[in-house]
């Protein structure tokens, strides 16, 4: 049995002000950041010279910050600060190898990852800064299973058959649903690019033969893949409004006060809200490939690599 363990610790108190950071951007605040990572492995033989296993695990816990603006209509100012961008990312993998006979090797592994991250989003207007509500939450869940069987048919002939399955689900959402409100100096509300979602399942079969004959080392085989995928391209689903000024400068509606009710706004081609979600339910693909190649040892110092795929 053999294993390892490791710990990475970067505490928030160790965070310094970057030399190139514009301190006027956030009233002298230091961009927050901390990171902890925990990792370990364990493995060993199950049966001496016959079967082995191995496992590895890692957990990443991170908390950073993204520079955001806050629009205050009362004082007609925009102040900057940092909004948190937490990230957690546990992942693990296990593997087993079994030498069934002197000519047969079976290998398999399984991997899993569950990633959750909050971060900044894209703005429609290209405004220099976004508000805290413009952040997005992303979840990425992955699983992969893979197995292969290597069979030595003769000292010069070998076959390797493999199969794998992977499953991926992504979901990206605004931290707070709403309409994107694009002012000249700040993007407020929710990002126009989310929600989005991707789902993908892949099945892959692969087989390859190695055959040594004379001065030739021939390899040939093929691969089949089926990829089942769908996605929700949620661009503009929340709607978007573009304003031509950060704050109102005149009591346009004659209600006695000058506030956001007096803002002038422009409805452009990008300021709409689609009535139908941009769903693509069937983005499936099937791949087929076959190949043959030859490493031809014409001379001990001259090998020709030939092939077709």
């Amino acid at each position: 049995m053999h294993g390892s363990a490791s710990l990475y610790e970067r505490d928030k108190v160790l965070q310094a002000l970057p030399a190139t950071f514009n301190t006027s951007a956030a009233a002298g605040e230091t961009p927050p950041f901390r990171r902890q990572q925990y990792a370990g492995t364990l493995g060993g033989p199950l049966v001496k010279d016959k079967a082995w296993w191995f496992g590895a695990f890692k957990y990443r816990d991170e908390l950073g910050g993204v520079l955001v603006g806050r629009r205050d209509p009362a004082s007609q100012t925009i102040t900057n600060s940092f909004a948190s961008t937490p990230l957690t990312d546990p992942m693990g993998t296990v593997r087993g190898d079994w030498q069934i006979t002197s000519n047969d090797l079976l290998a398999m592994h399984y991997s899993i990852e569950r990633q959750s991250v909050t971060g900044g989003a894209s703005f429609l207007s290209g405004a220099p800064i976004g508000s805290a509500s413009e952040r997005q939450d992303a979840r990425n869940n992955f699983q992969t299973f893979q197995t292969s069987w290597t069979r030595v048919l003769s000292p010069t002939l070998l076959n390797r058959a493999s199969f794998s399955f992977n499953n991926f689900i992504n979901s990206t959402n605004p931290v707070a649903p709403g309409i994107e409100l694009d002012f000249p100096s700040i993007a407020d509300g929710a990002s126009y690019r989310v929600p989005q979602q991707t789902r993908q399942k892949r099945l892959q079969w692969d087989d390859g033969v190695d055959w040594t004959h004379g001065q030739h080392n021939l390899r040939f085989g093929g691969q089949v893949q089926h990829i089942g995928a769908d996605f929700n391209l949620g661009v503009f689903q929340g709607g978007a409004i573009e304003f031509i000024q950060d704050f109102a400068d005149f009591d346009h509606n004659n209600d006695g006060v000058t506030n956001d009710q007096d803002l002038l706004f422009a409805v452009t081609i990008r300021s709409g809200k689609p009535s139908v979600p941009l769903l693509i339910p069937d983005a499936n693909n099937n791949h087929f490939a076959t190949y043959v190649q030859d490493d031809w040892r014409v001379h001990p110092q001259f090998t020709l690599n030939l092939g077709l795929r």
Binding site: S6, T93, S164, F231
Partner: protein, 215 residues
């Protein structure tokens, strides 16, 4: 030498494969797992010859055994530099390998195994491209678009076919070797990285996980 018996024994697991030199004196062991091997050649009337070699993910080793007459024991020790020469005369693949020792000892900011590609010329971080992959590492290799790379683990695809980029991440401690392949040959088909996942290693560390990544 025709008809010499050749035995390749994994120093990590003890598993061995056998072959016989053919009519032109060649032998080949295809599809061996990466790791250290002892190769032994035995022929009637000649002293056995042995060599040790460390195979890396996606690489080929070319060994030459000068056999001497019997009653003289010959041991040939071939190190990595000899078995995988600086000038490769057996394959046209253009690639680079980050081996287990480098992975164990080099720091990675964020500990994503794809960052290993940055240690090989021709690779750089590509801009993050999609809101659904905001924290994914994307590598541009040989000037290619980052999301178009092919990442495989132990030879099987690990790609997002919808928006591009990699799928599952693997703890770096579970990565044995990493190959960045700009110009693969036909078996692999597409360029980028091959990861070799760790496997058993009873002699050196009892058990080392192995994954291979190809970009």
């Amino acid at each position: 030498m025709v008809g010499a018996h050749v035995i390749a024994r994994s120093l990590a697991t003890g598993v061995q494969r056998t072959s016989v030199t053919n009519h032109v004196g060649l032998f080949a062991f295809n599809n061996l797992a990466p790791g250290p091997y002892e190769v032994r050649v035995e022929a009637a009337g000649f002293a056995p010859a042995t060599a040790t070699v460390r195979l890396e993910v996606g690489q080929q080793a070319s060994l030459k055994f000068p056999l001497t007459i019997e009653q003289e024991k010959t041991t040939i020790v071939i190190d990595d530099r000899d078995s995988i020469p600086l000038i490769n005369t057996v394959t046209s693949v253009v690639d680079g390998v980050i081996n287990a020792q480098q992975i164990d000892n080099l720091p990675l900011n964020g500990r994503n195994f794809l960052e290993l590609a940055l240690l090989i010329p021709g690779n750089t971080i590509a801009p993050n491209f999609d809101p659904t992959k905001s924290s994914t590492v994307v590598i541009s290799s040989a000037g290619q678009l980052g999301r178009g790379g092919n990442v495989s683990i132990d030879g099987m695809d690990n790609n997002d076919d919808v928006v591009g980029g990699m799928l599952v991440n693997i703890p770096e401690d579970g990565v044995q070797e990493f190959q960045d392949c700009h110009q693969p040959f036909f078996r692999r088909g597409r360029a980028f990285g091959i990861l070799r996942s760790k496997c058993g290693d009873q002699v050196r560390e009892q058990y080392i996980a192995r994954f291979g990544v190809t970009l």
